[in-house]
Symmetry: D2
Subunit: 246 residues, 4 copies
């Protein structure tokens, strides 16, 4: 294994693709498969996948210890994810700095809600309408290769108020034909970890075959990768210390 | 009742004052009593108190419905606060905009950790050393009446890294004689609520008799008071909506 | 004079209203007159106006010393505002904490650009299209009395990328029928001052007769009013100091 | 030239080193020489230097076009830097995304003050006292390789209030033995550019031989390097646009 590579695990609940023919037609290898295939062709990235029905949802201690950035997609089965696994993922982010990329309907995943401390709810509508994502942070590494905006021809709508903490960095704001806006690319620093929420991605549209969407995910992987530092004394526990000065 | 007044409830676990003579000598009416006494003399503020050993910790539905800003002090008994009460306080903040002021060792309270989504841990030392709080947001309403800095002669030390999300507004940074710094006055917007964490306040020092400390708490009460707006559709639940535009 | 009142000065270049009959028909007393009339009916607010063609543009030392919040509207004559007056306004904001509310096309005023340090440029189109302003900070005092969104039936469009620093607090995001989004309500802390940029307000539409728009301006006045504190030692000059500790 | 390398230009006014023997003894090749020597040994970085007394201060169009990150040190001669050169540097940052690293006393440089829009003033004292820099953003790339804090044994003091806009990301807070604190590592996004202000570095102390200080500068170079994107339409000028939607 080459330690300079970013080790990515793409996690998917992997339900719609096996239960709904239309979804299977778009993602024959699953949503995780589509994302993993794209990323595995990019320099300095190493990709694995994991799914809900594997033992421990495929997220054992060993898998997480060897993951630099975890990508999370879920929709129909958030409550089937065990609290024990969520706790393990949470600790790996907070204490070790594993990056987390939260896609679309995973706004309602246990791990994202736990990290945010808010309900993470929003307006929604499934109408196949147009979305246009505007860059509002033109020097941000997650916007690399993206022009002033990019479009998704048909998608599910998410609208404000999106009940999240103010993002530490806001990269994209979406416009929807039906009249709404949405903070669509949101960076959060939590503990030693970096988290990116990215809105696009409904299962019934070929969003994860869109080149711009995939490029943003790749950029986010590089942004969210952990840095190397000594252990942080106070994560996760308060520590009694002696004075540094007389 | 005059609805233009800000209705404050000061909550205290009220344990040290009854078990430790030294603390009782400093706070004969309890920490909640000292804070309530100060605030009750200020214009447009109405104060009540509540403590851990009351039924439902004194925080019934009715009490919370009639509270605009809740002040929280706890230290020895965070885990004795019932999850049901925490959930009720949380919902009142997120959905209705009740303000929350979190004092000193309440950084480790259930309600603050739930709202932050982080461990809220820190370095600490109980040495009676000097703290100097510097204003880093000179136009912020919570700094009203405070000069470039103010001092607390003897206090417990809290030091970085303080495991919280980046504050939405940072008002004070503390200097400690023993060599540490700390983000001591931190504003957070969450849902419809406003939260202020304020560091000073150990039970064995007369911190809540310090005029500057009390003034900051008063300022924070005014800042955190809820605004009047129609209900927010998406707090706390995602809502399906029809298009606003054809 | 009652010092508890917020003393507002509404400044307008006052050109379009005198040169263009259509504008005069909408604002017979000028844009400043319309805003001043509204604010003067509100509790604890005292209003004056000032315009470009008065001596020193009506912004003498004495006027500024007696102004708590300055509202600024300009469009056709930004470069006719004297640098000396801009410097005076700037110093009053930075050193004394006078609030500044910057309306619509005043994004290109000298004072706003000087405060921001950026070009403050944007996309624009004058098509009389619909704007919908979404609240993204539901606990913010500037959103008081506003529902999840409000609409302006016909307006000029402003679109991203809006070249400003990231706002310290983002209150509104606009949706435009033609396909753009815009950060429409932006709070900035600078020195001791508080600045609010508010997008709505073209001269050829009756925007400043819209009740929601006027309410936001009133809320912003209350938010931007200066707080009372001792002078800040280091604004505007670096200061040599002796140690506070041995 | 290898375009994958980050092309750094280290700029120094280069006055103290030629006029003061004590400074010359610490920095025989100048402060720029010390920083350049360190960076040139690091992977994927290419370094040049430029100084005040070169034609156009060594910052011609061609030099800037071939600079990805500019490091700036100045102290005695801020007002000798020509406005034309400042404008050129400013445009290269805002329009093209060149990174800027502002060191120590360059808080008072023309370019930094223009970018910030504030006075950038502060408290100071030259006493050779101890500074301890605490990491408050433990996942930030600029903190890579740094523990919970690092120390500088003898340095000039800078204290709050530091009159800057709130940093977009705050990485370090300094503690000083004499009783002050300071926001010492501050990230700003402006236009397409990324700016990092880093406090350490007085000319009479060997700060730029300190390994931690040099490591932070190297990290900042990598963070501030421009990303590749199409030109941003609205930097630096407002642009009239046609509707994107019918």
């Amino acid at each position: 294994m080459n330690r300079d590579k970013i080790r990515v695990t793409v996690w998917n609940e992997f339900i719609h693709e096996r239960e709904d023919e239309r979804v299977a037609a778009i993602y024959p290898k699953g949503i995780h498969g589509a994302i993993a295939e794209y990323l595995s062709q990019k320099p300095n990235i190493e990709v694995k996948t994991a799914t809900l029905d594997e033992p421990q949802h495929g997220l054992t201690d060993e898998v997480l210890r060897n993951t630099d950035v975890l990508i999370w997609w879920g929709h129909a089965a958030h409550d089937k994810v065990s609290d024990e696994v969520v706790e393990r993922v949470y600790n790996r982010i907070m204490c070790d700095g594993m990056g987390l990329i939260v896609l679309h309907s995973a706004h309602y995943s246990k791990i994202f809600r736990k990290l945010m401390g808010t309900s993470c709810s929003l307006r929604w509508r499934e109408d196949g309408e147009k979305e246009r994502l505007w860059v509002v942070s033109p020097g941000h590494p997650i916007a690399e290769g993206i022009g002033d905006y990019f479009e998704i021809e048909k998608t599910e709508m998410y609208g404000e108020f999106f009940d999240i903490p103010n993002p530490d960095e806001l990269v994209f704001i979406s416009w929807f034909k039906g009249g709404e806006v949405f903070r669509s690319g949101c960076c959060f620093y939590r503990g030693r970890g970096k988290i990116f929420y990215f809105r696009p991605g409904h299962e019934t549209y070929p969003i994860y075959h869109n080149e711009k969407v995939l490029l943003v995910i790749e950029n986010a992987v590089r942004w969210a990768a952990p840095i190397k530092r000594p252990k942080t004394l106070t994560i996760p526990r308060a520590v009694h210390v002696e004075p540094l000065e007389p």
